[in-house]
């Protein structure tokens, strides 16, 4: 029989930590700090609108780009929250989560051989999506000493004549790093001078604890070269509804929409109705969840300081990314031993790119009482390791 698989798919490595997660799933009594989605249920009024849409028989496709009312609400929301101006009629499309938006943005913009700059550590899908789109992923290893922000020098050093796209994954999973307005201004001219485009994954935009999130699309000269990606999963605790959106200049969005139309048709209809409610009446929910995350974040920072675990203060998302380098073991070893000895699962930092080696990702999408138990065990583990050294 001939090879059934494409050469491209065969080059994509399966997630390196699959094995680790398999161990986790075989330990039912393990507690976890590993999950990457909110612990809150979707606020009830939003769920209720989703239910109502079903009751009213809204079970058909919507137009490819999504419900007009939802696109209008998205435009309104982006202007209200982030001072961004997008025309709902041809610059906004509703996608199946932010993940689909990442995929189709890359597919719409890349030719074979185009290089895509991917700051790492970061979410795991940018590299495979780039490869599947025929592009060449070029990681930019970010550094803890810069609080895992992308510096102008790091960007400059990574650019070649083939570079076409810079992915900007901030606020960042797994580091919790943010790019403040001044950080973005510092790289803006390099992007423009080198005629790059930006795919800005701002799915955690609502979860920033240092003033308001700034989108690079709002800087002068950047709107025309940015595909902005956001969604409902993290801000409104709506992961399972699978709903995100992309905003871009019309000539780019039109082509993304083509892919979406042929591959997906439209985002789930009842999720779209629920999302209208989220944008209309959900600001308070977002704020109270953000406040709760922030209390947990401060609690963890205090604990880490107390147990002598090196960590820069992350100001975004719901992750903390402490260094475990002083224990002279790899992230994998640390996570595996922590799981076996104390029954707590964390994600080894190298799952998010080589530059994540030496770190672990701790999610605080858990109630404070769960966090207290887990952090108590981390403290014991760190003390045990201290005795071994």
């Amino acid at each position: 029989m001939r090879e059934p698989l494409s050469k491209t798919i065969s080059t994509i490595k399966p997630s390196g930590i699959r094995k680790f997660f398999d161990v986790v799933s075989e330990m039912p009594d393990a507690i976890s700090l590993g999950v990457g989605e909110p612990d809150f249920d979707t606020p009830w009024h939003i769920r209720d609108e989703g239910i109502r849409a079903l009751e009213q028989g809204k079970t058909f496709y919507t137009s490819n780009a999504g419900l007009k009312e939802l696109k209008k609400e998205i435009a309104e929301y982006l202007s209200r929250r982030f001072d961004l101006t997008y025309d709902f009629s041809d610059e906004i499309m509703v996608t199946v989560g932010g993940s689909e938006a990442i995929d189709i943005a890359l597919r719409a913009m890349l030719d074979p051989g185009d290089e895509v700059l991917i700051p790492e550590p970061s979410y795991v899908s940018y590299t495979p999506c780039t490869v599947l789109a025929g592009g060449v992923p070029v990681p930019i290893p970010l550094k803890a000493e810069n609080e895992f922000r992308l510096t102008p020098q790091e960007l400059k050093d990574a650019i070649t004549p083939k570079t076409k796209i810079l992915i900007l994954p901030f606020p960042n999973n797994p580091t919790g790093a943010v790019m403040e307005k001044s950080d973005l201004e510092a790289i803006k001219d390099i992007i423009i001078d080198n005629d790059l485009f930006v795919v800005s994954d701002e799915i955690y935009a609502e979860l920033t604890y240092l003033g308001k999130h700034t989108s690079i699309a709002g800087l002068p000269g950047m709107r025309e070269r940015t595909v902005l990606i956001n969604g409902f999963s993290k801000a409104f605790a709506m992961t399972g509804w699978r709903l995100g959106y992309a905003c871009a200049p019309e000539h780019i969005l039109k082509q993304m929409l083509k892919i979406h139309q042929f591959c997906i048709m439209c985002a789930p209809t009842n999720s779209q109705y629920a999302a209208i409610e989220a944008l209309k009446n959900g600001d308070e929910d977002v704020e109270s969840m953000r406040e709760e995350y922030n209390v947990r974040r401060k609690f963890l920072m205090d604990c880490f300081k107390d147990m002598g675990l090196d960590c820069f203060e992350p100001f975004g998302a719901f992750y903390i990314f402490p260094s475990i380098q002083k224990f002279n073991m790899t992230s994998d070893e640390f996570a595996t031993r922590f799981l076996r000895e104390k029954k707590v699962a964390v994600v080894p930092g190298n799952a998010f790119g080589d530059s994540g080696e030496g770190f672990i990702r701790i999610s605080y999408a858990y109630s404070l009482s769960d966090l207290k138990v887990a952090i108590g065990r981390l403290r014991e583990f760190v003390e045990d390791l201290g005795k071994e050294m």
Binding site: I17, S32, G36, N294, A345
Partner: protein, 159 residues
């Protein structure tokens, strides 16, 4: 600051004071002082506990009793209310707008105990004109808490 502290302890009166402090950007002593001040001012009136007695296997019945009364001259409803709320059996007394005057909640061990209280104590107060007793069959939610166990965390780990 007071409003925020109250919002926290209304949901969880056993909350770690450090937690409130962290959220407000003050230390625990400041929070504690503020709490004590509010206790003195009777803004905070007590710290009762939400109990699912069913789950504890202990039988309890609660009744909501609609009470119609004749208000007393010069004292209005307050004096009548006091005669009702002084009974330790009475859990809550509210003055109500609408078809009746007071909503009284009573908790007892058995139906008989509650009805006995109503017929012997409550209805015999001379200003009470009539009572209508509604027994609670099942509590779904109380004080903002849904009375079913916490749901299991079904989220899966992925990177």
């Amino acid at each position: 600051m007071r409003e925020k502290i109250l919002a926290f302890i209304e949901k969880n009166s056993r909350i770690d004071l450090d937690e409130i402090g962290r959220s407000l950007g003050v230390d625990r002593v400041t929070v504690m002082n503020e709490l004590e001040a509010m206790e003195d001012e009777h803004i905070i009136c007590g710290y009762p506990t939400m109990i699912d007695w069913d789950k504890a296997g202990i039988e309890k019945v609660t009744a909501l009793i609609e009470v119609r009364v004749t208000p007393q001259r010069a004292m209005g409803f307050d004096k009548v209310a006091e005669r009702i709320y002084r009974y330790p059996e009475v859990d809550a007394v509210y003055l109500i707008s609408g078809g009746f005057d007071f909503m009284v909640t009573i908790e007892g061990r058995t139906l008989r105990e509650v009805s006995q209280f109503v017929s012997e104590k409550l209805s015999t107060i001379d200003t009470v004109l009539s009572t209508k007793t509604n027994f609670i069959l099942k509590k779904y939610k109380d004080h903002g808490m849904i009375m079913v166990g916490p749901s299991k965390d079904e989220r899966v780990m992925m990177a």
